[in-house]
Symmetry: C2
Subunit: 234 residues, 2 copies
């Protein structure tokens, strides 16, 4: 009998290897195959996070995904990318897919999940998201009591960003990259430029916290966030 | 020389003890004092989560907090509750405060942080929030690509809840308790009643997933959430 392998999607957290959960660590070490993505010509961040824990005898699958691709255009690429994972599972080997942050929170693992979880026993392990890690690294209590929290991709049009920021109590703005200047201008218009805090590569050795007006818009990495914390006085 | 103790606020995650991070586990075991809250006459949930890992020789501080108290009224109670923690720190003993979920995400640890972090070396460890755990336990990919995510306390007035739900792509509704019926009615009005998923006590042995219309409004615990996932087709 050739029983099927099991699929695991594990959140590996924001960057600090110590922010892996005990469950993610156990599953990571249990599987014969690990899979992870990276940008072409770049080291995989997810693999780097777990590298201190790898037993060294696992088959590794690296896949490349174009960044910030519209979901409709990404579909055929994902259909293709899941094939090696599918083959290992069909051959009875367990596969752990490494996911930066949390697997179901703006994560590319969801593409693998929707394609393979119907076919194979699948388990997903939540991870420490940048949404929780960034306020902690900044030292700002984030949301409290009856606060509304809104998570906004910086890719949204300025009028939508403005309307959302006006209607919420606390916010996180993600995917800043080349949208930083637009966001900074909106924060100034709304008088939020000192309350808003900028952080990049939170919890890693390269973490930087920079006042909004001192950030170089040309050098804003993908792994950056603006946090607008609660105004409630605790 | 009597050097001061260090204060640690550690997120212990949503319920499953295996969702503790490696960092939280290390700090938990390193301190001579642990502190945690519970409702009066109830076991502390945070302590229960970490109980498999306790070395057994730590001083324990239990404090009680009235639930859902307005921040303004809570202040004098917190002033009082931090005193035992303050004393241990002043005497040079490290104190680990256990926080369900994540410490800075609607957590009562923030009251301790604002009172004591100026006085003592303080470190906060992010935890797996119910915001990440609930979608994973429900098996629903939560947010993707350019989605806006809104986190809403069910305590808000109905017109505010409605307006927020109309303006977002994905949502989580927390603090349901006695507000469940109001929220359920709004979900029906907006045609969200099948897309919305209800879960209580996620990741624990008592976890329940119930269709919205089959939930008994009299039996909705504090640790429950309604998740409205992305509509993007992955």
């Amino acid at each position: 009998m050739n029983s099927k392998g099991r699929l695991y999607g594990i959140g590996v957290g924001p960057g600090d290897p110590e922010l892996l959960t005990l469950k993610a660590l156990r599953l990571l070490r249990s599987a014969s195959v690990i899979a992870y993505q990276s940008a072409i010509d770049r080291e995989s961040i997810a693999r780097k996070i777990v590298s201190p824990y790898l037993p060294g005898n696992q088959t590794e699958i690296l896949y490349h995904l174009p960044k910030a691709l519209e979901p409709e255009k990404a579909k055929p690429i994902y259909d293709k990318e899941v094939e090696p994972i599918d083959k290992h599972l069909a051959a009875g080997r367990d596969v752990v897919v490494l996911c930066e942050g949390d697997p179901f929170f703006y994560g590319s693992f969801m593409y693998i999940y929707t394609r393979l979880s119907g076919e194979y026993h699948t388990e997903v392990v939540p991870g420490i998201s940048s949404l929780m890690a960034c306020p902690v690294s900044l030292g700002v209590p984030f949301t409290y009591y009856n606060d509304i929290l809104t998570v906004l991709p910086a890719t949204l049009p300025p009028e939508k960003l403005t309307a959302q920021l006006l209607a919420t109590d606390a916010a996180a703005i993600m995917k800043l990259g080349r949208h930083f200047t637009k966001v900074r201008d909106i924060l100034h218009q709304l008088g939020l430029d000192t309350r808003a805090k900028y952080i990049e590569r939170a919890t890693t050795s390269e973490q930087k916290i920079i006042p909004i007006d001192e950030v170089n818009p040309q050098e804003v990495p993908y792994f950056s966030m603006i946090v607008i914390p609660t105004t409630q006085k605790l």
